[in-house]
């Protein structure tokens, strides 16, 4: 782990963009601490990213099946606005320190496809995400999000397990 971050230190360019992907699980919460540490360290811009899986992926249904917390809505009708509200409620207060900026982004679709597409389009330098945060029986999807993002992303990907202490190796 230490070696990995040392290698990343050397490779990191200026004006760094860090993409933190969350499914609001405990793994994601731990990953957020890591993402904040990295954003402060590199004075990076942090993109806080969530993907809503539509109930009907082949049509235009906007019903969410994600694990998004309830009661955080800015608009009851628009699930994207709801999710952005939830992201802000969950993470905005913790955005302290000298990071270059922050953006809350919500997309609809398959999580792996949306994360990789966003990373390619916005020149992301590092993706930090939690390992799968939901037990298999409760999972909305069998897509191997972390594995696919790790494989197809155009940058380094760090997948965090809840059990790892936030300060470990950093």
């Amino acid at each position: 782990m230490v070696a990995l971050f040392t290698k990343i230190d050397r490779l990191m360019p200026k004006n760094i963009n860090i993409l933190f992907c969350t499914d609001f699980s405990e793994h994601a919460n731990t990953a957020f601490d890591h993402a904040m540490d990295q954003a402060r360290k590199y004075k990076a811009k942090l993109h806080i990213f969530h993907v809503i899986m539509p109930a009907d992926p082949c049509g235009n249904s906007k019903t969410t099946e994600s694990g998004m917390p309830r009661g955080a809505a800015e608009s009851e009708d628009d699930p994207i606005q709801q999710a952005i509200g939830a992201l802000k409620l969950k993470y905005a207060d913790s955005l302290n320190g000298s990071i270059r900026g922050c953006e809350f982004v919500v997309k609809m679709g398959s999580p792996d496809v949306e994360v990789v597409r966003y990373a390619k389009k916005h020149h992301i330098d590092m993706i930090i995400m939690g390992a799968l945060g939901i037990p298999e029986k409760d999972r909305a999807t069998r897509i191997r999000t972390a594995a696919n993002v790790s494989k197809y992303a155009p940058c380094q990907v760090i997948v965090i397990q809840k059990q790892v202490h936030p300060s470990f190796g950093i």
Partner: protein, 352 residues
Amino acid sequence: MKQPIPAQFHDLTFKSVLDALPCYLTIQDAGLNILFVNQTFKNDFGDGVGRHCYQVFQGTEHKCRKCPVQKTFSDKQVHLAEETILLKDGSVNQMIVYSAPLFSLTGQVAAVIKLLTNVNMIKEVQKELVTLGQSFAVLTHDLKNMLEGLEGGAYVVDEGIKDGDWDLTGKGWNIVKKNITEISRVTQNILYSSKKRTPQFQKVKPSEVARSTVELFQEKASAMQIQFISQLNPTLPRTRMDASSITRMLSNLLWNALEACDKDQRKASNSVFIRADYYNKTHWMFEVEDNADGMDEKTEQNLFEEFFSTKGDNGTGLGLMVVDRIVRNHQGKIELLTTPGIGSLFRTIFPI
């Protein structure tokens, strides 16, 4: 001599005739405000009277660059244009637009009458004709290559038999078999893409379709020294599908994956994965993944275009076009993850 109007037309008003026209009719002033619309217009655009024509037809706040109505106001002539028009339901349509002057008693253009005819169907036919022309050129060229390959193989077989060299005969026979497979595959894709076939929907288990398709490719994968890994969830329920179409779709994806791996010289070993599993509670998916060379951004964008191929003379560009068509026929969706040097993952998603 003036002919009397037949009795059955006595109730006919000027407006009812305009309303019955099978095209959109508007009358506009010099400020491009709509003064009058017919019923056909109202049906597809709503009541646009009082609004600017560009707001109604284009959904913008800016005048069109080549507005035929403005031209008619300035030169008092009839003008013809082709425009892309947005209907109330959100559909985009190609229309032929005529603008003609309505003169006042002083000979000035008081208003302009604008007639719009939907030519979407004609455009579709036009596109199909272009496609047909392209297909003849591309496919003839590709089939010629394959037939030449077949001739080459037959020649090697002949030489082998003549010399009593069974090794040479075997090599020649492999070339013949390879080209027969290619011709057969291309012919099936041509048939699928050119013929309007009615899908035969029935309840089938996706894992069974995948298993039988994989069996068709096992031997080929072994011969190419490519590892074939299937992960098929047997608990997927029977779903409504045209099994032969889905088999064709999977065959094309698997064939592309195998060919990409065969072309990849950078990795010591190549693998192709096929997965069938739940996408979510109401949808299932197939994933075909390879660890070949992947695709750059440009290739990714053009991938489902007709006759786009990365295989040069070895590809017709029909394979993924057929995949796309089959997925759409099943109300499905196709997704792609790819990175140069890493590989590609095609995911097709269907309702359960």
